[in-house]
Symmetry: D2
Amino acid sequence: SRFEYVKTFEQDFPMLPNTYLVVRVDGRSFHKFTTEHEFTKPNDTKGLGLMNDCALSVFREFPDVVLGYGQSDEYSFVLRRSSNLYSRRASKITTGIVSVFAASYVYLWPKWFLTKPLKYVPSFDGRIVAYPSDQNIRDYISWRQADCHINNLYNTCFWNLVLRSGMTEAEANKALQGTQAAQKNEILFQKFQINYNQESAMFRKGSILVRAKLKQQKQQQQQTAPDVSAPMVDSVPSASSTPDVEILHDDVIGQTFWDTYTILQ
Amino acid sequence: SRFEYVKTFEQDFPMLPNTYLVVRVDGRSFHKFTTEHEFTKPNDTKGLGLMNDCALSVFREFPDVVLGYGQSDEYSFVLRRSSNLYSRRASKITTGIVSVFAASYVYLWPKWFLTKPLKYVPSFDGRIVAYPSDQNIRDYISWRQADCHINNLYNTCFWNLVLRSGMTEAEANKALQGTQAAQKNEILFQKFQINYNQESAMFRKGSILVRAKLKQQKQQQQQTAPDVSAPMVDSVPSASSTPDVEILHDDVIGQTFWDTYTILQ
Amino acid sequence: SRFEYVKTFEQDFPMLPNTYLVVRVDGRSFHKFTTEHEFTKPNDTKGLGLMNDCALSVFREFPDVVLGYGQSDEYSFVLRRSSNLYSRRASKITTGIVSVFAASYVYLWPKWFLTKPLKYVPSFDGRIVAYPSDQNIRDYISWRQADCHINNLYNTCFWNLVLRSGMTEAEANKALQGTQAAQKNEILFQKFQINYNQESAMFRKGSILVRAKLKQQKQQQQQTAPDVSAPMVDSVPSASSTPDVEILHDDVIGQTFWDTYTILQ
Amino acid sequence: SRFEYVKTFEQDFPMLPNTYLVVRVDGRSFHKFTTEHEFTKPNDTKGLGLMNDCALSVFREFPDVVLGYGQSDEYSFVLRRSSNLYSRRASKITTGIVSVFAASYVYLWPKWFLTKPLKYVPSFDGRIVAYPSDQNIRDYISWRQADCHINNLYNTCFWNLVLRSGMTEAEANKALQGTQAAQKNEILFQKFQINYNQESAMFRKGSILVRAKLKQQKQQQQQTAPDVSAPMVDSVPSASSTPDVEILHDDVIGQTFWDTYTILQ
Ligand SMILES: Nc1nc2c(ncn2[C@H]2C[C@H](O)[C@@H](COP(=O)(O)OP(=O)(O)OP(=O)(O)O)O2)c(=O)[nH]1
Ligand SMILES: Nc1nc2c(ncn2[C@H]2C[C@H](O)[C@@H](COP(=O)(O)OP(=O)(O)OP(=O)(O)O)O2)c(=O)[nH]1
Ligand SMILES: Nc1nc2c(ncn2[C@H]2C[C@H](O)[C@@H](COP(=O)(O)OP(=O)(O)OP(=O)(O)O)O2)c(=O)[nH]1
Ligand SMILES: Nc1nc2c(ncn2[C@H]2C[C@H](O)[C@@H](COP(=O)(O)OP(=O)(O)OP(=O)(O)O)O2)c(=O)[nH]1
Ligand SMILES: O=P(O)(O)OP(=O)(O)OP(=O)(O)O
Ligand SMILES: O=P(O)(O)OP(=O)(O)OP(=O)(O)O
Ligand SMILES: O=P(O)(O)OP(=O)(O)OP(=O)(O)O
Ligand SMILES: O=P(O)(O)OP(=O)(O)OP(=O)(O)O
Ligand SMILES: [Mg+2]
Ligand SMILES: [Mg+2]
Ligand SMILES: [Mg+2]
Ligand SMILES: [Mg+2]
Ligand SMILES: [Mg+2]
Ligand SMILES: [Mg+2]
Ligand SMILES: [Mg+2]
Ligand SMILES: [Mg+2]
Ligand SMILES: [Mg+2]
Ligand SMILES: [Mg+2]
Ligand SMILES: [Mg+2]
Ligand SMILES: [Mg+2]
């Protein structure tokens, strides 16, 4: 038809070849969403389990995804650097992943929250970023895990002060202002007998998704130090229904993880 | 942390100011999805109603959306040219809309399909395009409606030939090859006593969403010609729960629609 | 060869169709260049004439350029909105224009500066911007002319204070700080008997290049008000060797210019 | 002023960090330019020397350029991967380099062509491409050198057939159609007693510019094989006036060059 010329206004943006592609999705206004749905503070085990389950959907749908990392209301997905998914068109990849994630969140909600009603539709923003080197992509994942650590240590103190010491939110905020990590550990231990390192690894480290086939055979000797933290509460359905994807809550800043799994190549 | 530098790799792409922005979402592999969920061929009234309902979610969430147009497994949303939504960042706008749409599709599924189970998670791709002039944006909408017309006329013939004349799909395809619109109308009328112009307007014209406040007051006189087509089957829930948005199935290629609604400004 | 895959890393960026394209070139480090080559302060008639002559080269080389505007060390070129030059590829258009301009500056230098040696190679940066509407492109040109006016009024005061009142640059700067346009006019008139409006129009308004064929026939009646400013010193070679391009020093903020020349269509 | 909003329409495109940036400039319509200026066929030593001299200008102006490669009417410049030149803004880098190159071509013309007049202004297009890995950037340079080899072998045969065997251009073209490299070498040797490997290295390999400080100290042992080809005709001015930049005509496809110069880091 004489209208078809409008198609030529589409500006395709292909991502640079030979780079790792990261798609990060993040809950839109999840401060409100988690409040309205009365998520446990600061961490809701079922909420995080649901996020991991949505990430598994993404792994099933996009074979080029080699690594996932989730914490709070966000999830990052790494595509292998040689991926030619959708000819690396930025919009296609980003919207494919974000819409699988968002639709899965609603689809899987009842599996995790049973009869608790979903009051309204949750949604996610998404972006795609290219990382040229192995170091860059490791630093990216480290950045998100460091962010997880900082926020979770703070939030654990904050909500214990509010919920168990009876402080107002303003008071708790003031009490923590300017404190270093060591001091926050101290507060937790002195006031609440909490050894932060024994808190749930999922809360402290976030969740890592990797394809099992990428696990190195010789990994017996390279064992990560045993995790002494509290075992994950298992009164929730298992997200791990896809046999070939593992969910870990390990450190990804050090070398061990990257020796154990051949993510980068 | 020392990892924060990776944030600088994000490449923001702001859409050109003073242009109409169109976000088009399209079902990913809906050939498969509609088959597996046994949608009526060629048009499933409930499926289209659900699409319209998802579009209403988008209207509720994004006040800058002034026009929606849907047909088949796709929906286009037009943002006013002065919109500063997310500072016009391409990814933010596109992923916001596509994830509201995708999550709504799952959320609203039971409202339209009752107990029919959703077998797996549907998803949508999305793209954003800038149109500089009023004529360009009208031509865009006309392009989609012309596409709807061409496909629907073809599909109506095709599925009547297959389902009512017992042709194989290959035979039906061959019978229609090279035929003009007039011949297709003739086939429908001669073989099946179908007056194509009396088919459901939603099937023939697609669905238009507009905010009621954009309706011109003087529109009594500028009335569009009464639609003589079959009334929409109303055994389905009403999508029109948002009072300020109207769902139309009118012609948008001619002048009347644009005189009736002040979309462009 | 097996190396050809590297060609696929090129990321073409086509400019949005149906928009005016502006390429603006600007002298790189012309503060230094004009100082080293002892340009007259604040305006060097030969220097500006050379800039106009370079712009004429651009007009000769690129028929889609419909308007040029120059002042100081910069020149803007407007391409008609329907231009399909290099399929609107951003790099091709920008580098084509900037390199014609830069090479012409060296090529034409002796025509304007005779035996004065060019001490080193001048160069220019360039950028391309899309403007969707007629108003936008008019505002763009107005922006540059308003910039010309503000800078030139200031510089005229500044250099008169320095060169004729014996102020240091710091003193002149301080004397002008916070002054309004009216006050600057007053200073010029009281201290130096200069009626700013009678200064050279090229200095006050900059230079406009238009193709003669775009001049309206009925323009006799729509005559612009006669320019009472000082005539351009004509001891310099004529840049206007291309008969079909006119060099004007008119106001382009008001309506008259746009009625006289059919630039926008 | 009220016009300043138009500045916001500029869409800056920063190149991805941590990638090698290549700017390639290429003569615009140099088929015509070299013909009109009667360049020697297929290689004009003075013309190539001028190109190298322009590239030296680029090296002087942009310290982040670590490698240059030139052949025919084109030159490529590699910026180190950590470069933050102009915050990596694509237009600024590209236009800076292309305009230095183009202006230098005119500026240095008389140094190489003496009194031969420059009939009109030459110009160059330019583009910028990001390469993520060391292998990619080596392959890029290899691509250009392989292109040089293929074209030069062909052109050497072609012009000898035309100029020394009296063939028409059509006949020469036909004679060479479908021939392999070995056959072309044979033609040269049998018909014209030309040992292609002893042709000027600049013609066969192109020109490489490197900063002397990047030369490895231990390079005595890693010596490249002595070049037995014809010495460069030296009746032309020396382009190598910048002491810290070396002009080579070596092989860059093999390993030796990259061991000798620390370009990549
Ligand atoms: N109670 C509770 N809240 C959570 C949990 N996970 C995330 N949240 C909340 C905490 C934050 O308010 C919010 C995530 O912060 P963001 O920076 O993403 O902000 P938000 O999503 O509100 O806005 P955005 O649309 O992303 O700009 O989600 C959880 O497990 N439990
Ligand atoms: N039976 C039935 N099928 C429909 C209806 N609406 C859309 N479809 C089907 C027909 C097409 O096979 C498909 C839409 O065509 P597309 O070109 O979007 O292809 P598809 O979504 O399969 O692939 P894509 O991921 O978009 O490239 O959806 C409907 O109401 N009823
Ligand atoms: N004396 C004299 N100077 C002029 C004339 N035209 C321009 N200039 C000088 C004044 C300014 O210092 C300079 C233009 O200012 P810009 O903002 O473009 O700065 P500049 O080119 O130094 O740096 P840039 O590379 O553009 O960031 O050129 C002239 O006619 N006479
Ligand atoms: N005679 C002669 N011609 C040369 C020499 N170096 C380059 N050329 C000519 C041969 C080609 O016709 C032309 C370069 O080919 P291109 O593919 O760059 O084409 P051209 O510049 O004509 O068009 P373009 O604007 O780049 O698309 O320059 C030389 O040393 N001697
Ligand atoms: O999806 P199609 O085939 O209708 O055409 P398109 O949407 O323009 O193609 P793509 O989805 O690949 O952009
Ligand atoms: O969303 P924030 O505040 O964590 O930070 P951001 O995601 O970098 O900001 P934006 O969502 O606006 O890109
Ligand atoms: O100019 P060519 O033909 O060598 O090939 P190209 O440079 O890749 O083409 P273009 O100049 O159009 O980008
Ligand atoms: O160069 P300036 O300072 O006039 O301002 P600009 O041109 O907008 O800045 P840049 O050259 O850095 O784009
Ligand atoms: Mg955010
Ligand atoms: Mg969020
Ligand atoms: Mg978040
Ligand atoms: Mg498609
Ligand atoms: Mg589809
Ligand atoms: Mg479709
Ligand atoms: Mg500037
Ligand atoms: Mg300047
Ligand atoms: Mg300037
Ligand atoms: Mg080319
Ligand atoms: Mg060329
Ligand atoms: Mg070339």
